[in-house]
């Protein structure tokens, strides 16, 4: 086992490199991903090693990137598109939702769409407007798309390869605030042809409250669990990993053990992924629940200015507040 320690950004780079090596039909496309290596340097060095035809610097036009990626996929290629920042995806929203998501369905499976869209998402980095958003449910609500978000360097490394191997379009949300956090990565970890994208994971077992998170808030939930443990409360943390589909059985199994559930994400709670988790948990373990499912997340406001973003983002205190409320219900 070739295990090494690296930041998440480097792990994605290593995963992309492996995908490029594995299949000559894999292409990277995006703005400034070549010589510059992307604004977050996630694609650093890849154009030098794989050439300009496989690591393609595109014009600054997101619809053009996605639209041409769809055409390349029709021709048998596996494009991996980088969207520079979360809120810059919207010029491509039409191509993603009306074309990419529906092409397989429209053609009864004759034209598959193995396209990956990498999107750095989430806040906490002190950025200007449009650079800190969490638009994942806008895609999760579109059938035909898969929506995933890794929370660790290891998952980032394997899941990006799973995403490339998947026969379906995958929105790959990268928690940019965690890009430089290091983690252990097994570089020989197996890739299961896209099958590794589904499935939530209990990342910290516990007995009192289930805390469900994905992407950047898994770290927050784990921190909260440490603090709670020191106060005698045992939190079980579930990393969803996939927002579409959601691994409901894993969440439900956990809540059946704990009887309580808190869902945490940076996106606004209103009609967010937490609302779906709450509904499914309520449907499937109504009699095991000791308290209503609570949500911790962003507010129904545009993402605020960076000087006050930490009042907007769910943090350890907000998670523990919800834990307390569910315990004292």
């Amino acid at each position: 086992m070739a295990t090494t320690t690296m930041p998440m950004a480097k792990a994605i780079n290593a995963g992309l490199r492996r995908a490029l090596e594995h299949d000559p039909k894999t292409l990277l496309m995006g703005e400034d991903i070549g010589a510059l290596g992307g604004v977050f340097r996630v694609t650093e060095g890849l154009q030098k090693d794989f050439g300009e035809d496989r690591v393609v610097d595109t014009p600054l036009a997101e619809s053009g990137i996605l639209g041409t990626a769809i055409g390349l996929a029709m021709r048998g290629y596996r494009p991996v598109c980088e969207i520079q920042f979360d809120a810059f995806v919207f010029p491509a929203y039409d191509q993603i939702t009306t074309q990419l998501a529906k092409m397989r369905y429209r053609t009864r499976g004759r034209v598959p769409m193995p396209v990956v869209i990498r999107i750095p998402f989430g806040g906490g980095i002190g950025a200007i407007e449009h650079h800190s958003e969490s638009p994942e449910v806008l895609f999760a609500h579109t059938p035909g798309l898969r929506v995933v978000a890794p929370s660790t360097a290891q998952d980032a490394y394997t899941m990006i390869q799973e995403a490339v191997a998947s026969p379906d379009p995958v929105l790959f949300f990268e928690p940019k605030g965690r890009y430089w956090e290091k983690g252990e990565v097994d570089l020989d970890a197996p890739v299961r042809g896209g099958a590794g994208l589904e499935g939530a994971r209990v990342v910290r077992p516990g007995t009192d409250v289930t805390v469900v998170a994905y992407g950047p808030t898994v770290h927050t939930a784990l921190k909260a669990a440490e603090v709670a443990a020191s106060e005698g409360t045992s939190l079980e943390v579930v990393d969803l990993r996939s927002v579409s589909p959601i691994d409901v059985p894993t969440v439900v199994a956990s809540v059946r053990r704990t009887g309580r559930c808190v869902v945490v994400h940076e996106a606004p709670t209103f009609l967010g992924a937490g609302a779906e988790v709450a509904a499914r948990v309520t449907e499937e373990c109504f009699y095991e629940l000791e308290a209503p499912v609570l949500r911790v997340g962003g507010f129904h406001t545009p993402y605020p200015v960076s000087k006050i973003e930490h009042d907007y983002l769910p943090n350890v205190d907000r998670v523990l507040d919800a834990v307390d409320r569910t315990l004292t219900f």
């Binding site: 035809d53 619809s63 041409t68 055409g71 010029p91 039409d94 059938p143 898969r146 379906d168």
Partner: protein, 384 residues
């Protein structure tokens, strides 16, 4: 042509509306040379006769589609009426290996690809969102969102480049990609992005715009201040304006553009100036927004009438040919009606198929629920 948008000096026209040779002009003459085997002194009559036959048959198909909608057999039908020359002329320049991205009115191009036209009606009968296998005739399924597919065509062409199927000089290898769209699409950002991406990548692409003068109720004058063909030049893409009601000119312009694409010369933008003689679709009512005088003036430039006149004048067409073609069109009509009426709705549970290519927990859970619900309903009915 509508005077505000076209100039005599740029429009490529080889056959005039009365069927005679069009006036010689610097813009048209090179194409006349290219089309010498169709309209030159030593032309082979069979080519123009074939084009005429194609146009007559797709017009018959168009009439059948409209009738089937009126009879309630189709939910909607978009007519190509008036655009036969643009589609048959350009379509006949294609080779089997070329790949076409149509919009939703390209019934004539589908015909030139050898498709059974009844496949086109599955969409409009509401039994299939696609209707055919794009790989079978290198003809992608119809795209309903205006202009989106111009980017797909561009990306496909970029793939063709990477596959090494451009500029090899081997006619069995080199291929071109074509996107068909209308004047309305040129207002969409995607079409401009397609021009930009195609240009900088030197993609083997032809962007074939049928300017039929109307985007539903909006005339082209309210869509663009500049003639549409000039769009291409701003992106560094060679652009041609052709009489879209002249089947021979459309063939010649397309033949040149395809040759450029296949040989590695990059993309071309073609504006075929034509007219949507019918409604936008069977749900539309053109009398609300355009005059009968305008329609009458375009009827005089009917793309089929001019070829008939030319064929007859050349002694290449007889009354017997008319009768034989009528019989052929009647047979096509019978085929279209019979096949379409027999198109059955798919099984309800098929709605869960091919949403994803890999097992998906959400869809599978809903498929299972639906099956159980249907079974319970059926059992309940059994008891009642």
């Amino acid at each position: 042509m509508s005077a505000s948008l076209t100039g005599e000096e740029t429009l490529v026209q080889l056959v005039a509306p009365d069927g005679a040779d069009a006036t010689s002009s610097p813009s048209s003459d090179p194409y006349r040379e290219r089309a010498a085997h169709i309209v030159g002194p030593d032309a082979d009559p069979e080519i123009l006769r074939g084009m005429y036959r194609d146009m007559v048959l797709v017009r018959r198909f168009d009439q059948e589609g409209t009738s089937l909608q009126r009879q309630g057999e189709l939910g909607l039908f978009p007519q190509l009426l008036g655009q036969e020359a643009a589609q048959i002329g350009s379509g006949r320049a294609l080779r089997p290996a070329d790949f076409v991205f149509p919009s939703y009115r390209e019934h004539g191009v589908a015909w030139t690809r050898g498709m059974d036209l009844t496949d086109l009606l599955k969409i409009f009968r509401g039994i299939d969102h696609g209707g055919w296998d794009p790989a079978e005739h290198n003809f992608h399924v119809y795209t309903l969102v205006i202009g989106s597919h111009t980017l797909h065509a561009t990306g496909y062409a970029m793939g063709v480049q990477r596959d090494g199927l451009v500029g090899t000089g081997d006619p069995d290898k080199d291929m071109a990609v074509v996107a068909y769209f209308g004047d309305g699409a040129t207002s969409q950002g995607d079409v401009s992005e397609a021009l930009g991406f195609a240009a900088v990548n030197n993609a083997p692409l032809v962007l074939f715009c049928q300017n039929n003068q109307w985007a539903i109720s909006l005339p082209v004058e309210k869509q663009s201040r500049a003639p549409l063909y000039q769009r291409g030049w701003g992106f560094g893409v060679p652009s041609v304006q052709v009489d879209g009601n002249d089947v021979v000119a459309c063939w010649a312009v397309m033949d040149e553009a395809l040759e450029r694409a296949r040989s590695g010369g990059g993309p071309t933008f073609v504006e075929a100036v034509t007219y949507r003689m019918g409604a936008h679709t069977t749900s539309d009512d053109p009398t609300r927004y355009r005059t009968s005088a305008e329609e009458a003036s375009w009827a005089e430039r009917d793309p089929i009438a001019r070829v008939h006149a030319r064929l007859v004048a050349a002694g290449w067409w007889t009354d017997e040919d008319d009768a034989a073609l009528d019989a052929e069109a009647d047979a096509l009509g019978v085929h279209v009606r019979e096949v379409t009426r027999a198109f059955a709705a798919p099984a309800p549970e098929s709605m869960f198929d091919e949403v994803y290519g890999s097992p998906n927990g959400q869809v599978e859970a809903e498929r299972t629920w639906f099956a159980q619900y249907e079974a319970a309903l059926a059992a309940g009915e059994g008891e009642a």
